[in-house]
Symmetry: C2
Subunit: 199 residues, 2 copies
């Protein structure tokens, strides 16, 4: 016999396409789902369709929004003189959770990576430069990942932005809070030593 | 700001309802999904709705099927003289994967558990007894779980079936293949000793 009914087979294969969900997990999820009330499946199904219909990129900062302009760009209380440049939309939410930052954002949607064939034209770099012309920006914080690609992207953008007289900063690198010193890698420790502050 | 656009928030909360998917995994899945082509989301959404519409229980053995009667019950090549009694639909697929069993199945959809308020009337026990009257059954294999509930269920059913002159058997208990003897629990080892065979 073909193991499962066709529609169940199909659901399993759709679920198994999701990141981090293998064949076994997909089976477990599918068996859970067929035991749920029909309304629950409809809710999940609706939310899947709804998310794609209503969400698009903010035309200024390229984060996702369901409004014309994102909540941050359209909030007059946000500091218009500072922009934080990030690689991914999720980084915005990570920074917002700190409640420490009140400026604007700019999502690059990637980082320059010659090995993967990602050049400056493939990320929202040109858009950032254009945006800086229109805004009364005094500081650009480079919050790209502390990876070779993130560093290269930050360096590339800095060389374009600095000549305009705008201050360009980079997030501090060092030992993360709660880390066990024993397991912190050498590069992080080197950066932590280089960036040490008076106690 | 409310962290995410509403429709994204909704998708995350729907995904977080799934078993084994917490808030963080739901966020990761949702961000993955909004980056997929619309067609992919529609496929997943369709498969969710389709599974509930097309799948129902086989009226004989109570496994899931998208046909009137399941493939096993409607297959004349299956041995009609032997029924394997299992707790869950998934157990059927586990047994089918062995390619060692060619009889029929009966899915109880649970096991008797007084502690959880599950009595014989809450599982497909009566249906099994009725079915045995209509079929030329010679042997019933009790393949309920090797747990107190599974044992109690097997014992309960045996007492109903045996008087009719039908042979009732139980799956062998012992050390699972590939196990490390050091980590096999005492009860399994006791059962393995009791059931030892000549070498």
């Amino acid at each position: 016999m073909s193991y499962y009914p066709k529609s169940l087979e199909r659901l399993i294969s759709e679920l198994a396409k999701l990141p981090g969900i293998g064949e076994k997990s997909a089976q477990r999820l599918a068996f859970h789902l067929i035991n749920q009330p029909k309304q629950d499946l409809e809710d999940l199904s609706d939310s899947l369709l709804g998310v794609k219909d209503s969400i698009h990129f903010c035309p200024n900062c390229f984060t996702i929004t369901d409004q014309e302009m994102c909540e941050i760009c359209s909030d007059p209380k946000r500091d218009q003189s500072i922009v934080c440049v990030i690689e991914d939309i999720r980084d915005l939410y990570a920074l917002e959770r700190t409640h420490e930052y009140n400026g604007l954002y700019h999502v690059l949607h990637g980082a320059i990576s010659p090995l993967e064939g990602v050049g400056p034209g493939d990320i929202k770099a040109k858009e950032l430069i254009e945006r800086l012309k229109d805004l009364p920006i005094e500081e650009v914080i480079m919050a790209t990942n502390p990876s070779p690609e993130g560093e290269a992207t930050a360096m590339y953008l800095k060389n374009l932005i600095a000549p305009a007289g705008i201050k360009v900063t980079r997030l501090a690198k060092g030992v993360p809070i709660g880390a066990d010193m024993e397991f912190v890698d050498e590069i992080t420790l080197t950066k932590a030593l280089e960036g040490r502050t008076e106690f």
